[in-house]
Amino acid sequence: MKVTELFRLPHVSRLTWRVWRRNYDVFMKTYRVNFIPPIIEPILYLLAIGFGLGALIREDIFGHDYTEFLAPALIAITIMTASFFECTYASFVRMYFQRTFDAITSTPLNVDEVITGEILWGATRSTISATIMLGVVTVFGLVTYPLCLLIIPFSFVGGLLFASLAMCFTAITPRIDSLNYPTSLLITPMFLVSGTFFPLNSLPTGVQQFAYTAVPLVHVVDISRAMAYGSLSPSLPGEPNLLISLGWIVVVTLFFFVIAINLMRHRLIV
């Protein structure tokens, strides 16, 4: 595969939403069980880490107590994991085991539209989970209205980022087991050290600079936390302007989106 082929622009029509709709229909068949994780997980984390471990943390974190600091990070984490797992393991099952992509590409839809539909659906999963979680942390009184509602549209943008990234791995993975590599080597470390459980500015400057250059979740956490605090400016010293973070997300999303489509074309069109 030539490098220039990786940057060929996708051909996508509105038919891509039919792929989204297929996945939505399947999701809604079992919606009860699908809604359990985003309700239970934040409660467990808030209880164990927020109220449990957090009770030992007497100091405020730049004007907010630890549970307030933690709550938006939990939402940011779910934005990452919901779309990433949807577009790795779940998409791989549809592509490889169920041959759903083959069936759809024998209709007027092309590969670009199938993959775009999958990514849009992955982002939708992020939005569904983030919205439910926002409701849960609201019950605990940990977010500031009305600005925290912006997390809902933002979760779709963040979802697109991780869905596009995930689809790149799905396109090149030989077996479903190999998807454990990006999960363990990328998602788990990001989950722990992206300003989620402790503020990033307690790390050395060099590490912070690296994080803001190369770690996607960092930007999603910053924006979610600012919105949850009811503000549109950085919530901790050392954070970049939110527009810079948003710009970073948009540019990197577009980059991985185009790469994902072309890697998938290379895999599926033979």
Binding site: D25, V26, R99, D102, A103, S106, T107, P108, I269, V270
Partner: protein
């Protein structure tokens, strides 16, 4: 009227030439069969016609449209039934049809009506709300066929439509395909079953190693490549020389059997018995399978 035309059509994967500059054309309303051993290039050819696999070179037009430029429009008028099931296991029987119809932009009401008709036609009405995994092999095949007809295709592409089915299920599918042909749908199929090809196809091409070896109606192929009858005799000592000396040019050896092709079975049989002194021999009518094995050889393909 010609509906598909291929000229010097070729497909290359990395270092394998799967389809080697073949020419063929399919007329509207006919049943056209691709026969050939594994690796002959049949499936590659079908995938190029259905516009999911781009050709490497040559020309390919479907319903007057170019396969490269107009793939989306071609896919609208083509129905595809693949060999291996790609039914959607997340949906019931009827939902498989309805979800599929959305990819063709068919309005909901129309799709429901069409799905209902097709469930009747393929005798699946009783399984309407069943999950895919609970269907038998024959039912899955019928549902795949039903799905391939949701968009009212002009051309139906079937890859091994009856492989793995019991005789009852095969005959049912043959009947249904016969009815579709009467409605004027052009059917293109691949098969390994010679009786199926002889029964269903108006015209056949036999492929081997990416090339077309022969083309014609089943009876034309029989006439041209073998004789009306085949005598099978054991390949005992001296039999082969005797057959050769007797002026019979049409014969084949496989294992310990000699196949002698002849249009005068009685005379040839007598000669084999008296002159060649074979211990036993059987005579039968020649079939497409004899043509196939003669043209593609008896070597095992994997």
């Amino acid at each position: 009227m010609e509906i598909i035309r291929a000229e010097k059509l070729a497909k290359r994967y990395e270092d394998v030439l799967a389809v080697d500059e073949i020419d063929f054309s399919v007329d509207e309303g006919e049943v056209f069969g691709f026969l050939g051993p594994n690796g002959a290039g049949k499936t590659s050819t079908m995938r190029m016609i259905q516009c999911v696999s781009p050709k490497t070179s040559g020309r390919l037009t479907v319903a007057g449209m170019d396969a490269d430029r107009d793939s989306r429009r071609i896919k609208r008028i083509v129905g595809v039934a693949p060999q291996e099931s790609n039914l959607d296991p997340d949906f019931t029987v009827v939902d498989n049809l309805l979800v599929f119809s959305r990819y063709f932009d068919i309005p909901r009401k129309e799709a429901e009506k069409k799905a209902n008709e097709l469930l009747d036609f393929f005798q699946l009405q009783g399984k309407k709300d069943t999950q895919i995994e609970k269907l038998s092999g024959g039912m899955k095949k019928r549902l795949i066929l039903a799905r391939s007809l949701m968009n009212n295709p002009k051309i139906l592409i079937l890859d091994e439509p009856t492989v793995g089915l019991d005789p009852q299920a095969r005959h049912l599918i043959w009947d249904l395909l016969g009815q579709l042909k009467k409605r004027g749908i052009t059917i293109i199929l691949t098969t390994h079953y010679m009786d199926e090809a002889a029964r269903l196809c108006d015209r056949i091409v036999i492929m081997n190693l990416g090339k077309i070896l022969a083309e014609g109606s089943p009876s034309e192929l029989l006439k041209k490549h073998v004789a009306s009858h085949v005598i099978e005799a054991p390949n005992e000592e001296g039999v082969l020389d005797c057959v050769r000396n007797g002026g019979t040019s049409q014969y084949e050896v496989s294992g310990d059997t000699v196949h002698v092709f002849t249009n005068e079975p009685k005379e040839t049989m007598d000669r084999l018995m008296t002159q060649c002194r074979v211990s036993s021999a059987t005579v039968r009518e020649a079939t497409l399978e004899d043509v196939f094995l003669k043209l593609t050889g008896r070597m095992l393909r994997e």
